[in-house]
Amino acid sequence: MALTWPENPRLIGTKIPRVDGLAKASGRAKYPSDVRPEGTLFAVMLYSPHAHAKIKSIDTSAAEKLPGVKAVSTIAGAGTTLRYQGDDIAAVAAETEDQARDAVLAIKVEYEVLPHVVTEHQAMAEGAPEVFKGGNVRKGRAQSKGNPEEAMGKADAAIEGTYSLPVITHVCLEPHGLTAKWEGADKLTVWSSTQAVQVVAGELADALSIPVANVTVLTDYMGGGFGSKFGADVWGRTAAELAKKAGRPVKLFLDRVQEHLAAGNRPSASGKIKLGATKDGKLVAMIAQTHGTGGARGGSNFPLPYVYDVPAFARTHNEVFVNCGGARAMRAPGHPQGCALMEAAMDDLADKLGVDPLEFRLKNLPAGDFRTPIHEGEVEQGAELIGWREKRKPRGQNGGGPIRHGLGMALHQWGGGGTQDKKVNCTINPDGSVELKTATQDIGTGARTILAIIAAEVLGLKPTDIISNIGNSSFPPGQPSGGSTTSPSMAPPCLDAVTKARDAMFKKIAPTLHAAAEDLDLKNGQLQVKGGPVMGWKEACRKLGMASIAETGSAAEGLASVGVGGCQFAEVTVDIETGVVRVKKIVAIQDSGLILDRLTWDSQVYGGVIMGLNYGLFEERIMDPDTGVMLNPDMELYKLAGASDIPEIVVRAYDPPDQKARGVIGVGEPPTIATAAAIANAVTNAIGVRVPEWPMTPRNVLNALATASKEGKA
């Protein structure tokens, strides 16, 4: 019989506190950065103070002689080109962190400082210094459909807008890094703050030329990744090398400055977009030139057109290289940028057409697409909750006085979905303990908890009865925590493993109960025979005798799916004298198939919205063009929302029966996509002019008002 999710679940879909929540809330949870095996040395990185330089010479001899220093590792030798501030040079391991810091200062490096480009403006200037040979601008593959020039000719109205979003950094609260401990010459254990234990294990094995079976990566907990913690990284490999040299465990976690500079960022995005529609509100064409920078790594492309059906379009994208740390995947890579640009242009065009931007959006959803009815249902629900039809006024008609009020909205989409090659082990022991094992990890979404919920559902137990053992690379293959793929990859093999283990148990103990295996069932901690409870769970397990039941589960058809929509609405006030934006309310409607834990699901959606609010209002990496350094590599001037910045947030799951029937999809990425777009549209609605640059800081708002006033528009 095909495996299915229970029709009337007792636990699945309800609000269940996470199984490791109290450990985290009471300071007992041990994160990789908390672990300090006996004899641990502390390592500190030396990184480039320059945006662009060549190492003429490097001398570590003075550092090596300092008290407490046990090992020094040079990463970038003489002749190496450093391409950004924060680029790795060397690392020192010493008895104390203070001693390691002193030793780093004692490393003598002679730099040949080279001319740099740290802003796109600098990089694209004629004759600009090159980050890599071949120029700072690489043309991406042009995308097109139909004949947009000709189609644009049929537009009754068209807008041409230029919009841009800055580079932001991940700001994982636990820095990147690991603690490495060798056991013998070719066996390594590391405690790594990672979102992919098996990727880290593979990378370390490769770098250190030891069998991957001899590398164990442990991540019981980890303090945030958001896409930036998939690998061992240079510093991880260096920590393992230092540990080998010193013959002692080494702990190496980045400081906050290098974390901002080198540990990943979300690329910027800028676009000049021409968008046209007929007077009945149907899009006809888009012509867009976009660019962005992923620092010295690339990866700035993003989806555009986005969500809506644009019958004809032409789009070019230029990758711009600058002397800054490389981009990494960051929560819904590319989508927040594509969404912001598309939705700004959609709003501007709706305004020009003089139509309600909500109706305009609904009119341009792709016909026949599976997401269209989802988006329609979500927009209807969201409009109701924000009061769109009663409260919204056309752009710029939000009264006089300095405080203006506005509403905005945006739609998004995400793929996600699961992989088919992951496994989960389920062991039922004679003492009644149940253990799940798989090499995934909990990045904070509650992965450990959803596995326990599934097992408890099948076995008639409580989630806290289940030992949900993850974060160990030596366990059966598990999914990296990225792209909203963890739940849809791990939930099906978990259901399969536990179901198989239960059935194996029934088969084994049925004869001792003089019953058929098919007559057994598990409910409320009781073993039932033909619907009547006969004994408690533990007593039933004792009937297993000496041998535990152990089963491995695999992916199965029909338990997971791919592809979601989603929409968000924002209500703001803007002080047009100071440029200060206050977000009053955000409504987020999100579909994601079958929800496993409604409590952690809500948290992910709230969290996504708040991360999007940060992107919309506060965050930007600020580079100094003259010195080439980052001006805000901290948590004071790199702005993130605090408790007082949090508006009313209304979260709703869009999960009618047909959505639940799709199975598990995952929700990490989607709820963070549309927020910054919706906020910007609300600001524009409030003040009557487009603020073309994110974030919606007083500076950007006042600049937009000043420009409009010069042009006589406001």
């Binding site: 809330a25 948590m635 408790a643």
Partner: protein
């Protein structure tokens, strides 16, 4: 002088400018000025007599953490946070910004919430240091309220929020939502758990009253 002299802590408080000024009334302004000068002279004299208190290299100190007297070897520059984490394995408080911006390192010193990342360990001798590991983890405690409200995701900021919340509720057992927001504004969460955090603080206030 008490706060500058690690050897003189725990005993009766010495005479200091701060204590003196705190004790004087505005009405005695001239006396204050005279007294201030006297105190300064006293202090200078004391320094001359005993020699400047320069602490360098490694020194052994004793810290009272969660009711236990713990010995640690530190340098004068060692922060309380690094001492707790790297020397004493008290790892509840986390190092995040390391510059008194984010609150993940919050500990309670003599009843007040303090950023331990910018507090020197040697200044904490003789003081009562509480970290969240010592909080009531039962149903009437702050950690329980955080757990039940899912006021945490990755959980790395959580120790700081829980500690700031406990310190706030100890001072103000009946906070309004606005007071909770203000009380927790010294902490930053990246996962975006604020909705749960605010509710947890309100729930914890209720639960503690029932204690």
């Amino acid at each position: 002088m008490r706060e500058h002299d690690p050897k003189n802590n725990g005993g009766p408080p010495g005479h200091s400018r701060r204590d003196f000024l705190r004790g004087s009334g505005l009405a005695a302004a001239s006396a204050v000025l005279t007294g201030q000068a006297t105190a300064a002279l006293d202090e200078a004299g004391a320094v001359q007599e005993a020699g400047p208190k320069v602490v360098s290299g490694e020194v052994e100190i004793t810290l009272k953490v969660n009711g236990q007297e713990l010995k640690a070897t530190v340098e004068p520059r060692s922060t309380l946070l690094d001492t707790l984490r790297n020397r004493l394995d008290v790892t509840g408080p986390k190092r995040v910004c390391d510059r008194a911006s984010c609150g993940a390192c919050t500990t309670i010193i003599d009843g007040a919430p303090v950023y331990s990342c910018t507090t020197l360990a040697i200044t904490c001798q003789g003081k009562t240091i509480e970290t969240l590991e010592s909080f009531d983890a039962g149903e009437k405690g702050v950690p329980h309220a955080f757990h039940q409200n899912d006021a945490l995701m990755c959980g790395y900021c959580t120790p700081g929020f829980v500690t700031a919340c406990k310190a706030m509720l100890d001072k103000n057992p009946n906070p309004t939502l606005e007071e909770v927001k203000k009380g927790l504004d010294g902490n930053i969460c990246r996962c975006g758990t604020y909705i749960g955090v605010l509710q947890a603080a309100l729930d914890a206030a209720k639960a503690m009253k029932g204690a």
